[in-house]
């Protein structure tokens, strides 16, 4: 079990921020917990405020530490969760396969994220249809055609309850991230000061002791 992250400066792995979005009750927290500690708690609480867990994951021989942010899905708490979108590297747009409404709301979530995370539409989104173990209200074709129509988003189906597809959903998302070739610096500067014409200010401060 390793729910910790390493700082980038240790040079061993990259910390990536992942945000899980979707309607209340679609299973965001359960997905996160299944992925991080491989457990499903029947008696879990609905989320209040913001929580995050970290987990290391390997891809192509490289280790990444995913810092997974989970917030409350109710509209009322929008002003609380949106500040946390900034600086995200990936986003899981989640709905429940047994809940049509949550599927229909996907686009609201996507737009909310793009707006507040201040990213382009080609951001590595991953659409996740959860609760695969329950009777479907949304077909795979429907979901896939939504993804195709909105800029070829990735699509996965999972069950946090019986663990189907959870790890591979995060992996697939990571793979898309790696492919889009790290669009942003993972650690932005605290403010917008540019160092004149010296180029990218965040480059070149690698600790000399990082080897």
């Amino acid at each position: 079990m390793s729910n910790h992250r390493r700082t980038k400066s240790r040079g061993r792995c990259t910390v990536l921020k992942v945000v899980i979005l979707g309607d209340g009750g679609v299973g965001k927290s359960c997905l996160m917990n299944r992925f991080v500690s491989d457990r499903f708690d029947e008696n879990s609480f609905h989320t209040i405020g913001v929580e995050f867990l970290s987990k290391e994951i390997e891809l192509n021989g490289e280790t990444y530490s995913l810092q997974i942010w989970d917030t409350a899905g109710q509209e009322r708490f929008k002003s609380l969760r949106t500040p946390f979108y900034r600086g995200s590297d990936m986003c899981l747009l989640t709905f429940a396969l047994d809940d049509r409404q949550s599927f229909q709301n996907l686009d609201t979530w996507r737009r909310e994220f793009i707006h507040y995370a201040d990213v382009k539409a080609d951001f590595p989104f991953m659409v996740v249809g959860n609760k695969l173990d329950l009777p479907r209200a949304v077909t795979k074709e429907e979901a896939e055609s939504y993804c195709t129509a909105n800029g070829d988003l990735g699509y996965c189906e999972t069950s946090a309850k019986d663990a189907t597809g959870v790890e591979s959903a995060f992996l697939a998302c990571l793979r898309r991230y790696v492919c889009t070739d790290a669009p942003q610096e993972a650690v932005p500067l605290p403010d917008t000061v540019q160092l004149g014409t010296a180029g990218e200010p965040s480059k070149g401060f690698c600790l000399s002791g990082c080897s």
Partner: protein, 765 residues
């Protein structure tokens, strides 16, 4: 199986129960070497009894407890709780807390905080010894139970650094005096300036960090900040420098005229801020509170005692007295179901038993009407009522996720879950506009558990929502106001911590959101939640006591947060992890002590007095001290001077009795206006109507306080030199050379100039 080397093992290391109802679980603590790294691991030893692989259930046989006392006994249940196994790579361990009683809490660099473990025989000596083979351990200067870990290599560099003698111990006093002397002759320059008030009012904040020991870290901290963000670091450093030069005058007057030979550190206001992140500064910190008193609490109110409060008809003779008593000790579980009905306004305090009987019957009829309204809604009707449908769907989702590990609500098809649903649906009909908001089910579940009666629970819930309805404002303004109120409180009772939070972009106190929304329910054990709530409902000794409880928790965590140099993300993690580990009685003592402290102090800003509903003190009553609650909710921007308005680009986070002519600034924290995100929680947007419009140049946070002309009185040479050296270093680092030697060129240059000691001594770095 990977190769492992066991280097330390200790059995019978127990978890420490956080409430009476919990058991402690024995486990095995080990230090293991694996793949060139060392790990600390703890796992409960009792594997067979725990089919759920390695997660320990801390209270599986203690689900129901019986509370006895002279006046009867009552059973009280508590939810099951799990304790995860612990595995921490040593490199990720930032610090640990170890008490003399042998309780150990591991705290990771990312803020993750593990449950407390108890060493057998209170003896952790060998564990620490083994640990110190891998890492350098240093006891915190602020908190004797906190131990900070560093990489051995870094520790060695630090030691070498101090061995180099860059910091000359002997020179400190004379340097300080020299600088002081040079500027005290200039002090008349600013005498006319209104904010430089009579020195008799000036009280310096007295916590001084031993600078000699802190200096090497400060240099290291400065250098690493510099590498990360040279621009802001430079500005910050310079701003502190300017600031000290400017505030010198204040200090000088105090020193010369009143304090005489008093060995006060003129830079005390900056002490503890040596790890200040780039971009922030404290300009003045002068308020000082009296010492916090010791507070004792009482045992819970018993039946016997309660009956003495009642008259022959069963009415309560002196509700205020009884509420005061409930505040001091809470209510014995056997009395709760009755007294909660009073506290939450279902019964009147003065009512006789007969009147209460009437009330119950009336209210039952009323409740049943509400219940009929939603339960007779046809599916067809629902289809045309999206507002209703939404509320219903949220409730259905949430009651299934509320306290389901509590025996009262556990298991499939539990009828009590249905009751939760009924009550919340009826509340939607009672108050459709507010409807259902997440968090409400958390507030209801304990009430239903205590009253064990649907109708009584409903009306008590109505009373509770009346108290906390602002938590559920559509625009969350009630929550924002509370967080701001808490900010004001912290700024008064612990300015050093507040400015630390400022510097780590955490002053918004987001991480307290869950505490406030459901009144600490998610942070406390079930029985503690019941206790805290009845204490809060007593409305004693002041309003918004829950904010004092929040302040007390933060007070408890402040050293851990600051010493670990946690920033926003780490603080959030750490605070979320303190969930279920708080000691309520201790917290209530501290919260009350803080209250007493504020009451006894003369310099409490009006904003805080208003927040707690305390009378404004005479000193703050005249003039402009009438800060209303509305104002309090917004950040204010105050210009202290007409001719020069140096504050335009900064905001006053907390303003005491505000600073007009002849008035002293109690304390004022300035924060750089960061990016304004329209919908950011607590964003400045709400207050954009005020005079802060000048915040265009956001990054120019270096705001000299007071008359800018005072800058001219500063030793120009020093400023110039520091500026140019820092400037050249910025260019150097921003250039190609990524691997500059640790101490050159900054420190070497400074050292050669003979200014390094000055810089350190005066905490510019």
């Amino acid at each position: 199986m990977e190769e492992e080397t066991l280097v330390y093992q200790q059995d019978e290391v127990h978890t420490i129960p956080t409430s009476l109802e919990e058991l402690s679980v024995a486990g095995r603590l080990r230090i293991i070497e694996r793949r060139h790294s060392a790990y600390i691991e703890w796992r409960c030893s009792d594997d067979e009894s725990n089919p759920d692989n390695d997660w320990a259930v801390v209270n599986k046989s203690a689900v129901t407890f019986t509370h006895h006392n002279s006046s009867g006994s009552v059973e009280i249940s508590t939810p099951r709780r799990h304790v995860r196994p612990i595995s921490v790579e040593l490199a990720d361990l930032g610090s640990y807390k170890l008490t003399i009683e042998g309780s150990l809490v591991l705290i990771q660099r990312d803020g993750s905080t593990h449950p407390a473990l108890q060493f057998p025989g209170k003896d952790a000596e060998y564990f620490v010894e083994v640990l110190s083979r891998y890492v350098a351990i240093k006891r915190s200067e602020k908190d004797s139970t906190l131990f900070l870990l560093r990489d051995k290599k870094t520790a060695r560099i630090d030691d070498q650094l101090s061995a180099l003698g860059l910091v000359s111990h002997a020179s400190r006093g004379s340097r300080v005096r020299k600088l002081h002397g040079s500027s005290s002759s200039d002090s008349n320059r600013s005498r006319g300036s209104p904010q430089h008030t009579s020195s008799s009012q000036v009280e310096l904040h007295s916590a001084v960090v031993p600078w000699t020991t802190a200096a090497p870290q400060r240099v290291m901290g400065f250098i690493s900040n510099f590498r990360r963000d040279p621009y802001t670091t430079t500005l910050t450093t310079l701003s502190k420098f300017y600031d000290i030069v400017l505030s010198e005058d204040d200090w000088a007057e105090g020193f010369v005229s009143e304090r005489g030979g008093d060995d006060l550190n003129p830079f005390a206001s900056l002490s503890g801020l040596d790890n200040l992140e780039p971009g922030f500064q404290v300009v003045t910190l002068k308020g000082k509170l009296v010492e916090r008193p010791r507070v004792e609490r009482l045992p819970p109110l018993t039946q016997l005692e309660y009956s003495q409060h009642c008259d022959v008809d069963g009415g309560v003779r002196d509700p205020q007295l009884l509420k005061r008593r409930i505040f001091k000790g809470g209510i014995h579980p056997s009395l709760r179901s009755e007294l909660w009905c009073y506290l939450l306004g279902y019964y009147d305090w003065s009512s006789s038993s007969a009147q209460r009987e009437v009330r119950r019957n009336e209210r039952l009829v009323e409740y049943q009407k509400l219940k009929l309204q939603w339960s007779t809604m046809t599916a067809d009707q629902e289809l045309r009522n999206s507002g209703f449908r939404e509320r219903k769907s949220l409730i259905e989702k949430d009651v299934n996720r509320t306290d389901r590990s509590h025996p009262f609500y556990e298991g499939d098809d539990n009828p009590n879950v249905q009751l939760l649903h009924n009550i919340l649906m009826s509340y939607v009909m009672f108050n459709f506009d507010l409807g259902y908001v997440q968090g409400m089910s958390d507030l209801l579940a304990p009430i239903l558990y205590v009253t064990q009666n649907e109708c009584a629970a409903f009306w008590c819930f109505v009373g509770y929502i009346d108290i906390v309805h602002r938590n559920f404002d559509m625009d969350q303004s009630g929550m924002k106001e509370q967080l701001l109120g808490l900010q004001h409180l912290i700024a008064v009772i612990d300015p050093e911590f507040m400015s630390y939070l400022e510097s780590s972009e955490s002053a918004n106190l987001y991480f307290c959101f869950r505490w406030l929304l459901v009144r600490f329910k998610r942070e406390l054990s079930y029985s503690d939640t019941l206790r805290l709530w009845e204490v809060l409902w007593s409305q004693e000794p002041c309003k918004n006591f829950h904010l004092l409880v929040a302040a007390a928790i933060l007070d408890h965590e402040r050293n851990t947060i600051m010493e670990n140099k946690f920033e926003f993300t780490e603080i959030l993690k750490h605070i979320n992890d303190t969930s279920q580990r708080l000691n309520l009685e201790e917290l209530l003592c501290s919260a009350e002590a803080i209250y007493e402290q504020l009451v006894a102090s003369s310099d409490v800003p009006a904003a805080v007095l208003t927040l707690l509903g305390l009378p404004l003190k005479p000193s703050s009553q005249d003039g402009e001290a009438d800060v209303s609650v509305g104002e309090l909710a917004s950040e204010k921007c105050v210009s202290t001077d007409e001719e020069t308005s140096p504050l335009e680009s900064s905001r006053i986070i907390s303003a005491g009795p505000s600073s007009s002519r002849g008035k002293k600034e109690n304390f004022v924290l300035y924060r750089r206006c960061d990016h304004n995100d329209d919908d950011d929680f607590l964003s400045e947007e709400d207050t954009s109507g005020d005079s802060c419009g000048g915040a265009g140049d956001n990054n120019a946070s270096v705001v000299p306080r007071g008359d800018t002309s005072a800058t001219d009185g500063a030793p120009r040479g020093l400023v110039g030199t520091v500026t140019s050296i820092l400037g050249s270093a910025v260019r150097h680092i921003a250039g190609e050379d990524a691997s500059i030697d640790l101490l050159s060129p900054i420190s070497a240059a400074l050292h050669n100039e003979g200014l390094f000691e000055d810089a350190i001594g005066q905490q510019y770095l």
